[in-house]
């Protein structure tokens, strides 16, 4: 079983299609996200990027095709049956989607409410650890309304990673933020990727986020981001790109291949 899990990719889409109100949102999407790999999803607004993440989480069910997460098919599963899979996925929503009526600490520790095997002391320790990771341990007792936009995103990251997921899904984590805060968020995403070896799907509008994901890695010893291609020495960040155009895959590959593409639609993203 364990062997089967490692042999199968973290996420696999096989001819997935979905439409709303007669309008096609995704059409025949097929790709694999390997273990430890990061897939940056680019595309114009309405091209189906966020929908793709929600399908991976089982929040939406496709009209056609099959989706596999950690070797298990999730298409057609009930909410109850999806629970074990969802516990292995962390998702950062576009605006953070923190619960307004709960404190930061309660938000981050929310998942433990459905994990009776985790003792309250252990849950508290992990909540503090996750908040320390995003440098917001001091906000434990605050409410989301008392935080800035950037802080809310960081709390959302802490909430997603607190249960040590094997897959992370980021839905435009830097959208609407100033460049400095956005860079801080991307640095956290890179740090999480390189410290835990988690597989990630990252949706973004900002090309600089994508380039940073591919071009930098987190140096644990130095405690900072380092360029992946520094002189002769190269560090594979295992970051690939997937560009969506009107619900279909327009490009799938590495950064260098993307840059070399003559397609005007793809060139628009690189301009």
């Amino acid at each position: 079983m364990e062997q089967a899990l490692t042999a199968s990719p973290a996420v696999e889409f096989n001819g997935v299609s979905l439409g709303f109100d007669g309008k096609t949102v995704l059409e025949g999407i097929s790709f694999r996200l390997e273990h430890g790999e990061t897939k940056v999803i680019l595309g114009a607004s309405g091209s189906g990027k966020s929908v793709l993440l929600k399908l991976t989480m089982g929040l939406l069910q496709p009209d056609g095709g099959r989706i596999f997460v950690l070797g298990e098919e999730i298409t057609g599963r009930s909410e109850e049956d999806l629970l074990p899979i969802r516990q292995q996925i962390g998702m950062v929503f576009q605006e953070g989607a923190l619960f307004d009526s709960l404190t930061v600490g309660e938000n981050v520790g929310y998942a433990f409410g459905r994990m009776p095997e985790v003792a309250p002391e252990e849950a508290d320790r992990r909540v503090r650890e996750a908040l320390r990771f995003v440098e917001l341990e001091h906000t434990l007792e605050l409410y989301p309304s008392e935080l800035s936009g950037g802080m809310r995103r960081r709390v959302a990251i802490a909430r997603a990673l607190v249960s040590n997921p094997r897959i992370m899904l980021y839905d435009s984590p830097t959208a609407g933020l100033d460049p400095i805060t956005a860079q801080h968020i991307v640095a956290l995403v890179i740090k999480q990727r390189d410290l835990s070896g988690v597989s990630s799907l990252l949706v973004t509008h900002r090309l600089q986020d994508a380039f940073e994901m591919a071009g930098f890695y987190y140096d644990g010893a130095g405690g900072k981001l380092m360029p992946a291609f520094d002189g002769a020495q190269g560090h594979d960040t295992r970051t690939r790109f997937l560009v969506l155009r009107e619900g279909e895959i327009a490009f799938h590959g590495a950064l260098q291949e993307l840059i070399a593409q003559p397609d005007p639609y793809l060139q628009k993203f690189l301009a």
Partner: protein, 256 residues
């Protein structure tokens, strides 16, 4: 024709979704996990929070009823029956319906806007992603709280209405207090009490589920939240008035 078909399909689908939501919420009452803290919080919000408007509505409805009744009863020289008429009108009909309409105005809209905001800010999706069933966490506690609190609020409204009727009959009609209370008390029968408590019990399902339904089906950002809120109040009010007619018809047919 195609447009008519689409509208008809949309309506049928809405009825189906509403029924499914209600059935699930009811089934979840008997399934774990039970969110006791949320139920108590909702009871406080729906029950205690609605007290001021229910007290005011009940009191002035009773007061105006006594005023209108006494005018008619004076013609027949029967002003002593004011208490009886106020009591029966309130307990059988006006208490349950007006209380439910007031609670619908306050809580169906409140529930729809709260859940609608959670939908557009993806909090519902986040809840599902974190392994919580929004039906169990959000719908069932609101349903249970409304079902428990609405009959109680109706009893309070009935009592306040009687007090309002008494105030009018004592200060304006100059009726003997014991005459008012005697005729009111002796007019009441078990059937009236049964009818007066069955109605808010049924209306509670409408108030809670309509609010939840419109909230959870909100589309289109903040504008959609506003639309859902208005639709919830209108739909809940209309459904209460329509179901009141059929409920009364059934009760009268059964009890004779």
């Amino acid at each position: 024709m195609g447009l008519l078909n689409d509208i008809a399909k949309e309506r049928v689908l809405a009825v189906q979704e509403f029924t499914t939501l209600g059935a699930r919420a009811f089934r979840n009452v008997f399934r774990t996990p039970h969110y006791a803290v949320d139920i108590v919080r909702q009871m406080d919000f729906i029950g205690v929070g609605s007290l001021p408007i229910v007290i005011l509505t009940g009191f002035f409805t009773g007061a105006v009823l006594a005023l209108q009744m006494s005018k008619t009863l004076t013609t027949f020289g029967e002003t002593s029956l004011t208490g009886q008429l106020v009591m029966l009108s309130l307990v059988r009909e006006l208490g349950p319906v007006l209380t439910s309409l007031m609670v619908a105005g306050r809580n169906s809209s409140g529930i729809a806007s709260e859940l609608g905001s959670m939908v557009v800010s993806e909090q519902i999706d986040a809840m599902r992603a974190l392994g919580t069933d929004p039906g169990k966490k959000l719908v069932t506690p609101r349903l249970v709280a409304t079902v428990v609190m609405l009959p109680m609020l109706t009893i309070i409204a009935d009592f306040m209405g009687l007090l309002g009727g008494f105030a009018t009959s004592f200060f304006f009609i100059r009726l003997n207090p014991s005459q008012y209370w005697y005729s009111a008390y002796h007019a009441l029968e078990m059937e009236d009490v049964f009818q007066g408590l069955l109605k808010p019990f049924v209306f509670a399902f409408i108030v809670a589920l309509v609010g939840c339904y419109y909230g959870l089906t909100t589309r289109g950002g903040t504008e959609g939240v506003g639309r859902a809120t208005t639709q919830a109040v209108v739909a809940a009010s209309v459904m209460i008035l329509i179901s009141d007619f059929f409920l009364t018809k059934i009760i009268l047919a059964v009890l004779g």
